[in-house]
Structure formats: C-alpha cells, structure tokens
C-alpha cells in the first residue's frame, strides 16, 4: 500500500514539473549564426550531428526544423544525399513540414514567380 502511495505521489509530481517539449542543444545558436551568414559549415554539422545522437540515446525529441536546418548545412557542404535524407527525416518527424520539404526536394527553382 505504501509503495502504491509513493507511486501516486511520484506521478503527481511528474504532472507538476514542466518539461521542455524538445531537446534544443546547439540549435538556437546554429540558427542565429546561419542567419548572420556564419560560414563554419562542417563545424556546425558536427555539433548538430553529435547532439542529435545524444538526444536519440536519451530518448529526447529534436525540435521542429532541426533536421531541415541540418539538411541546409549539408547542401552548403555539397552533400546532396545527406540533404535529402535530412529533409525526409524532418517530414516524417513533423508532417506539418511536408509541403515545404516537398518544395525543397522537388523543384528548387520553379514556381515562385511574382
């Protein structure tokens, strides 16, 4: 009975403490640098890949846009295969990104005239 009470108490505590929805790691910093024209592409890829592996081991969810951003870095590094894999990963993790990922994957030039 006391074990049950303890379990109940622990469960109610879990409900109170707000957990972040996602594991952010270097992502905010990477976005900031990308927007400011940072050019250490391979370094950023390494940071993001390392954190992604750690998050997977801890069972944490990567935030919206994480894989897409990684895909963009791979384009800049000239690795189109990895780009495609990351865009598809973003799409499967967040179906809401589907239309944009499809746009990036299909025709990167067409369909955007004024």
């Amino acid at each position: 009975m006391s074990r049950l009470l303890l379990l109940f108490f622990a469960a109610s505590l879990c409900g109170c403490a707000q957990q972040p929805l996602y594991a952010w790691g270097p992502f905010e910093n990477v976005i900031n640098r990308a927007l400011q024209g940072g050019r250490n592409v391979n370094g950023e890829i390494l940071r993001m890949e390392q954190f992604a592996r750690g998050a997977a081991m801890r069972g944490q969810k990567l935030p919206p846009g994480y894989h897409a951003q990684l895909g963009l870095l791979y384009v800049e590094a000239g690795n189109e295969d990895r780009m495609e894999a990351e865009y598809l990963q973003e799409k499967s993790l967040y179906p809401a990104s589907g239309p944009f990922m499809d746009f990036l994957l299909s025709d990167r030039e067409a369909g955007y005239e004024k």
Binding site: E28, L35, A96
Partner: protein, 210 residues
C-alpha cells in the same frame, strides 16, 4: 461483515477518483486553452530592424523559434525560408508582405505569418546588440483568412536582469531550465517577454495540448 468491507473499499475508490478529478480540472484551468482555429504552422519573416548595425533581428528570430515551438507551434526553419525568399529577390519584410497569401500557403504549407519589429530603447542602446535593451512588437496574421489573430509587444532591458516574472499559467508553458537560458541574452528575454509575457501573450499552440 463482508458487505461493510466492500462499502469501505468503494468509498476509498470514490474518494480517490474525486481527487483525481480535482487535479485534472485544476490543471485544465491553469493552462490557457488552445484555440483550435489558430494557425499551426508558422512562417517567421525577417524582422523590421530599427537598430541598424546590430544583429538584434537575427537573434530575435532564433529565439522566437525556440519560444514559439515550446509554446506548441510548428515553426518553419527561418534560415531555409529566408533562403527561398532571397533566391527570388525578397529580402525585406515590406516586400514579403506584398506576396499573395495563397502563394505562402502553397510553397511553405504555412497557416500563419509572424511579423516582428525591433527597436532600440534609445538610452542604453549599444551597437554590439548583445547587452542593449530592445522594444519588440509582433503580429500573427492568419493566411487562410487574412485576419490578425494576435498582436503584442514586449521589451528587454538587456544584460542578465529579468525584471518581470512570467504570469503563472505561462510558467507552465515553458520550462524553468529553458527560461534561465533564454534570460541570459537580450534576444531571449525579448522573445519571452513578447510571446509569453506580452501585452497580450500569445495563446499556446496545438502541439502543447498533450
């Protein structure tokens, strides 16, 4: 004897259920309700930056991704959307505002656009953009109807001081750990103050429901 025992058990079960009910109702009241009709997929466009020479706009965008995602929206990655805009000659917010909403919906799958404006506070503004205080304002426009769904403003004094405490319901939307990290930069403070503690705060999005 046996019936008395079962009555006691029944009573205990009933009491437990009622207390369960209380906690659930309490939680529901504490978290502001998500409005089902709000846009789920948000497009962040380059802010109008009135602090020339500073990177306040870019830093605010990066932190807006964090805060808006944690508040329960899907935020399209701004480095990628900016690339698409730039490739077609759209660099400034004023130009992007003129694009037909249907086009933004089709290409990005966006349901809403967030427009941001950054202004220096004047007195303690420094060109570094790191410790300078900023006034920020934001607007969420629904691409499906063209209606403004939220409009707010916030500010940050810069440095590490975090003047205003978040109101209690909003404390539940974002974790203490993340709040600490965000409050270490002016842009993080500004994004939190704008979206969570703004006047008025942005309602939580669909991915915050669970």
């Amino acid at each position: 004897m046996r019936s008395r025992m079962s009555r006691v058990v029944l009573l205990v079960i009933l009491v437990m259920f009622s207390s369960f009910g209380c906690t659930f109702i309490g939680v529901n009241n504490a978290i502001p309700r998500f409005n089902q009709s709000l846009p789920r997929v948000l497009l962040l466009v380059p802010p109008v930056n009135h602090t020339p020479g500073s990177s306040a706009g870019e830093s605010l965008l990066a932190w807006s991704v964090v805060i808006l995602s944690e508040a329960g929206y899907y935020v399209l990655p701004p480095a990628l959307t900016r690339e698409v805009f730039a490739r077609h000659g759209f660099k400034r917010q004023e130009q992007i505002r003129k694009i037909a909403p249907e086009k933004l919906q089709r290409i990005f799958g966006a349901e809403g656009v967030v427009y941001l404006t950054v202004e220096g506070t004047g007195t303690n503004h420094r060109v570094s953009g790191i410790r300078a205080g900023v006034h920020v304002s934001g607007e969420l426009v629904d691409l499906r109807s063209g209606r403004t769904r939220w409009k707010g403003k916030g500010e940050s004094q810069g440095g590490r001081t975090f003047s205003k405490l978040l109101p209690e319901p909003m404390q539940m939307v974002i974790s203490g750990e993340l709040r600490m990290t965000a409050s270490e930069s002016a842009a993080g403070q500004a994004a939190m103050n704008l979206f969570l503690n703004g006047d008025p705060p942005l309602p939580p999005g669909p991915y915050r429901q669970d």
